[in-house]
Every structure is written in structure tokens, then in C-alpha cells.
């Protein structure tokens, strides 16, 4: 007969409560893994959205995400004429606060030229921007729906398309508007400020400035070669898509990534200690029964089986319920929780190893129990 199963069945409620506790712990660990992944994926989503090969930015900067970058609007034509470049488009990025349905919305506004690189590659709903002005593609997380109208700056925009999981490194959801609208939003002075500037004798400020130019290169041309060609112009910097992604993960979100990574490691260590303590305590509570088993002649493998099987059942159920819990609630987190199957499997293996190691402590204690303990009340 299986003693581990019988013991669990006898104290089922207690065992299940312990499993629930462990499940919550596993859920926290899995959430942290998901948040860690989400941070990295989120950081790359905006940079990957235009599906480009080349980023051209202001000289001596690593913009437009890691540093501020401004380049003249006509840079796009110059980049488009480079050898190997198939298409180029200007883009702007800025964070704004807007009001919608009585609540403040923090939005990451991306300006792009419809029909050129820079627009989001795939829409989840609606259509691409078709007019030069006042149309918008919004991320689901903004809470905006197709047909909604929202005011940005002095203009009102209509939502015509929706994308999913387009957020900046801070987690603010993105909206895409035309470059002209974005430039107006970013660079146009208010009428009063403009009048003051003219009264001072200043020239009206040009709005034809962008944060970066993105370009696609021919499949037979190495993006690095195109980037080298841009760098020779001195007044511009260029980087490939891979270099841009490296900057984002190694620089922009690195500290947050390491912070969460360290926290996750501590959480894993705490989980291991908690699992070990639970299993050790479970064994300690059974020492008299183990002594009785030894006294009546039970072999060591029966006693080891009792402890190890219970430890594995506890770890397995805790891991499984924890996973189910995270999968059920992950979409309610304010930031994206990305849980790959490999993450769950690796955690499962870690839990398995922790359970085996922890039960080793219990087994050691059990095997050292003097069978005489069972005698004498």
C-alpha cells in the first residue's frame, strides 16, 4: 500500500492548505518571471513595430529611445537614396497626457508617415491611417475603442485602428498618428508663445524635425553596411535593428531588468527554503510513526518513499496550481506578464530538485530515528 497517499488522504485538508500556500508562492515566482520577460518584450515592441533594418538618428546619440534625438525632416530623402535602402520613413516619439472618459491617460505618441516604414506592421482591429490628419491607431491598453475620439494638444483624433501590446519601456500604451500631426503636437508653439517669439524678432520655428528615420534595406544588403554609409555623413548616427534592440535591453531597461532578476532570484531562494521547511516539518511531525515503522521492520525504502513521494506531490501540486493561477490573472496585471512554456518547465524542474533536496533533509532525519523511540509512550 502507498503510505504517502494514505497519509495525504488522512490529512487532506491540511495538505491542500499547504499546497494552496505553496501555489501562491509559485504564482508569485511565476509572476516575477513573467514581469521580467514582459519588461524585455515591452522594451522591444515599439522598436520592432515598424519592422525596419536601420535607425538613423542625431549625431553622437543613441536615440530615439535611449537618448533624445532630432534630425531634419528632409533626412528621410537622403537616407532613401542610399545604396541598398528600399524604403525610409520619418518617425517621432513623445509622451503626452490626455483625458478620456474623465480619466487621465498617459500615452506614448508615435508619429509616422502613412505608407512608409514606421507604421505598425499588424493591426488587431480597424484599418490603417488613411488621412493625413486626425486619425489614430491606439493600443488596446489605452482603453480606447474604434470610433472613440480623444484630444491631444489642440487637435481631436478619431481611433480608426487598434494594436495589441504596443507600449514604451515605461509601460505607457502607444498611439500612432500621422507625422504631420505628431510634429504639430511636439513642435508647434501655442499661439500666444508664437506671438511673443515673433514680437521678439525671432523667426517662426520650423516644425519639420523628426526624432529618427527608419529604413528597410534590400535583402542582399547588410544593414551594417548601410549604417556605415550613414555614419560617414558625420551629422548623423546610425544603427542596425539589432544594435537598437541591444541598446534597449542593455541600457534602457537594464537596471529594471536586473532589479527584477535579482528579486526573482531571492524569491526563488526563499521558495526553496520555504519548501524545505515545510517538508522537513512534515517529516519531523511523523518521527514517532517512522520509529514505529522501523520497529515493526519496515525497510528504509518504505520510509524514504513516504517522505519523497509526499514532497514531490506537494511541489507538483503547488507548481501546477501556481501556474494555473498566474495564467488566470496575468492579463489583469498593469504591465504585461509574458510566460513562456520553457519558463514554467524550468521552474517545475527547479521545484522538483528543491523537493528532492529538501526531502533529503527529512530522509536524513528519518533514517537517524532510533526505533526505540516508538517504545515507552
Amino acid at each position: 500500500m502507498n503510505l504517502a497517499y494514505r497519509d495525504i488522504r488522512h490529512g487532506l485538508l491540511r495538505f491542500l492548505l499547504t499546497c494552496v500556500g505553496l501555489s501562491l508562492l509559485m504564482a508569485v515566482v511565476l509572476s516575477m518571471i513573467g514581469i521580467y520577460n514582459g519588461l524585455v518584450v515591452d522594451a522591444l515592441t515599439i522598436a520592432r513595430a515598424p519592422a525596419t533594418d536601420l535607425w538613423v538618428v542625431e549625431s553622437n546619440t543613441r536615440g530615439p529611445f535611449a537618448e533624445a534625438s532630432r534630425v531634419p525632416g528632409d533626412t528621410r530623402e537622403a537616407v532613401a537614396r542610399l545604396h541598398g535602402v528600399v524604403a525610409a520613413g520619418s518617425v517621432t516619439y513623445q509622451t503626452v497626457e490626455a483625458e478620456h472618459a474623465g480619466a487621465k491617460l498617459r500615452l506614448y505618441v508615435v508619429g509616422f508617415e502613412p505608407g512608409r516604414p514606421g507604421s505598425p506592421a499588424r493591426l488587431k482591429a480597424g484599418r490603417p491611417i488613411a488621412q493625413s490628419h486626425y486619425e489614430m491607431i491606439a493600443d488596446f491598453r489605452t482603453g480606447l475603442a474604434l470610433g472613440d475620439r480623444i484630444r491631444l494638444g489642440r487637435s481631436s483624433f478619431s481611433v480608426v485602428g487598434l494594436v495589441e501590446n504596443h507600449v514604451n519601456t515605461g509601460g505607457d500604451p502607444a498611439v500612432y498618428i500621422s507625422l504631420l500631426d505628431a510634429q504639430k503636437l511636439q513642435f508647434e508653439l501655442s499661439p500666444s508663445a508664437s506671438r511673443v517669439q515673433i514680437a521678439k524678432g525671432g523667426l517662426p520655428q520650423t516644425k519639420d524635425t523628426v526624432n529618427a528615420v527608419v529604413a528597410r534595406v534590400h535583402p542582399n544588403v547588410a544593414p551594417a553596411a548601410a549604417a556605415d554609409a550613414v555614419r560617414r555623413w558625420k551629422h548623423l548616427s546610425a544603427m542596425t535593428q539589432a544594435e537598437q534592440e541591444l541598446i534597449l535591453t542593455r541600457s534602457v531597461v537594464d537596471r529594471a531588468r536586473r532589479q527584477i532578476g535579482l528579486f526573482m532570484a531571492i524569491l526563488l531562494a526563499v521558495s526553496a527554503v520555504v519548501i524545505a521547511l515545510i517538508i522537513y516539518t512534515m517529516t519531523m511531525e511523523k518521527l514517532k510513526q517512522i520509529a514505529t515503522l522501523k520497529l515493526i521492520g519496515a525497510p528504509d525504502r518504505t520510509i524514504v518513499g513516504l517522505i519523497v513521494q509526499q514532497a514531490l506531490a506537494l511541489g507538483g501540486i503547488g507548481w501546477m496550481f501556481g501556474l494555473v493561477l498566474v495564467l488566470a490573472v496575468k492579463d489583469y496585471f498593469p504591465r504585461r506578464v509574458v510566460l513562456d512554456p520553457e519558463n514554467a518547465i524550468v521552474l517545475g524542474l527547479i521545484v522538483f530538485m528543491v523537493c528532492v533536496a529538501s526531502s533529503g533533509l527529512g530522509v536524513r532525519a528519518a533514517l537517524r530515528v532510533d526505533p526505540a523511540t516508538a517504545l515507552g509512550g
Binding site: A298, L375, G376
Partner: protein, 235 residues
């Protein structure tokens, strides 16, 4: 292996056991010799610290004596041939234990507590349960066969424990204060049962007890004082 009619079931010669060394040394048993035959029911008496439990542990193959030799059912034990696993197997096959408190496993019902010992000895689960049920019937506690130990009265629990001790038909039964947790009526019933078992199974029963009301149920009483045996041989 095995026993002959002329050979005592339990035989100890000059068995000594001490704990600690130097000034901390405590001599728990000093050159104890005794022999107990099949069918005998004997008691070990003595004040606290006299060595009763140590002697029971030595006979039960739980404690190895420092010197002397011991023969159980024809096998000389502790002659350097015995591994810990061998001793455990010897306990499983030849020795039954009855405790002061029944020490039944709380997560098994009465039948499975008895069947476990049979399964450990190699019986199939169904067969083990069938034989366990028969033993419980024999001990007149079959009506409680599906009860968990926490739902058994003291007397019922002790009967189930006796059934467990008898499951593999051991020839030696060691009992540690078997009636301490029972009232005098139930204590008498349990002792009569043990005497009956000793006769029917041709087994030797050794019990540590302080319970004066059951002294008359023993064939012989061994008195221990400071680790030495004073055999009064009260038949």
C-alpha cells in the same frame, strides 16, 4: 535458522550494555543471563532506570549489547554477520511489538494497520487485508475493522495493535507497558488474550510492566536492579 523444541526461544548469556564513556559511563545492563521458552509469558519488573527498557531493546534487536551473546529462535544475533537491514527483517519475521499506547499509524484504518506488516513481509494487498480481517475477527474487534485509530477506544486500539504484532505469526512478542493505558478490567482481558496467544502460537511473551493488578497473569517475573537480573522464577 529455526528452532528446536529443546532450545529456548530467547536466550541471553552475560549480556552487558553501557552508555557513555569515562565518568559519564552508565552501565544499563550488567552480565544479564536469562532464557525464556515457547509458551511462556514473563514480566520484567524494576524501578525506573533499572534497565528494563534497555533489556527489551536488546531482545528486540534495537540495541546492540556491548558484550555477551543472544539467541533468538535459534539464531545467534550480533555475531558480526548481521546488518541493520537483516535485524529489521528479523524483527519483521520473528518479533511482534506491543506498545504502551497502541502506536497505530493514524493514517491507516484498523485493517490496514495490520495488513501493512503482512505487506512488508511480502503479501499481496488483498491477501494481506483478508488475513488482517481474520486476525481482527480472532481478537474480537472485527466490527471496528474500518475505523481509524483516532476513533478506537483504548481497549480496541490495543487489540488492533496486538493483531498487528501477531500478523506475521512471530514467535517472540515484546510488550512495553501493554496495559498501562487500560482500566483493570480491560488490562485483565488483554493479559488473558496474550496468555492464550502464547499457548496457541507457541510464542514467548516478554512484557515490561509496573501494573501490579496483572502480576498474577505472568509465568515468571524477572526483577532488574541497577542493570542486574534477579530471577525469582515465579511460576
Amino acid at each position: 535458522m529455526g528452532s528446536s523444541a529443546a532450545t529456548p526461544l530467547i536466550e541471553l548469556r552475560d549480556v552487558s550494555k553501557h552508555f557513555g564513556e569515562g565518568e559519564a559511563r552508565v552501565d544499563a545492563l550488567k552480565e544479564v543471563s536469562l532464557s525464556i521458552s515457547a509458551g511462556e509469558v514473563v514480566a520484567l519488573l524494576g524501578p525506573s532506570g533499572s534497565g528494563k527498557t534497555t533489556l527489551l531493546n536488546v531482545i528486540g534487536c534495537i540495541l546492540e549489547p556491548a558484550s555477551g551473546w543472544m539467541r533468538l529462535d535459534g539464531d545467534v544475533v550480533y555475531d558480526n554477520r548481521w546488518l541493520r537491514s537483516d535485524l529489521r527483517r528479523l524483527r519483521l519475521d520473528k518479533i511482534g511489538f506491543i506498545f504502551q499506547f497502541h502506536n497505530l499509524l493514524p493514517f491507516l484504518d484498523a485493517t490496514d494497520n495490520v495488513a501493512l506488516v503482512l505487506e512488508l513481509a511480502g503479501a499481496e494487498h488483498a491477501e494481506a487485508r483478508r488475513r488482517a480481517a481474520a486476525l481482527l475477527e480472532y481478537l474480537e474487534v472485527a466490527h471496528r475493522r474500518n475505523a481509524m485509530p483516532s476513533h478506537l477506544s483504548g481497549g480496541e486500539g490495543q487489540r488492533v495493535a496486538i493483531a498487528r504484532a501477531l500478523a506475521n505469526r512471530p514467535r517472540i512478542i515484546l510488550a512495553d507497558e501493554p496495559t498501562a493505558a487500560l482500566d483493570s478490567k480491560r488490562a485483565g482481558i488483554v493479559m488473558d488474550l496474550l496468555r492464550k496467544l502464547a499457548r496457541e502460537q507457541d510464542a514467548a511473551i516478554v512484557a515490561v510492566t509496573h501494573d501490579e493488578k496483572i502480576f498474577d497473569r505472568f509465568d515468571r517475573i524477572f526483577h532488574l536492579r541497577d542493570g542486574r537480573l534477579d530471577d525469582k522464577g515465579e511460576d
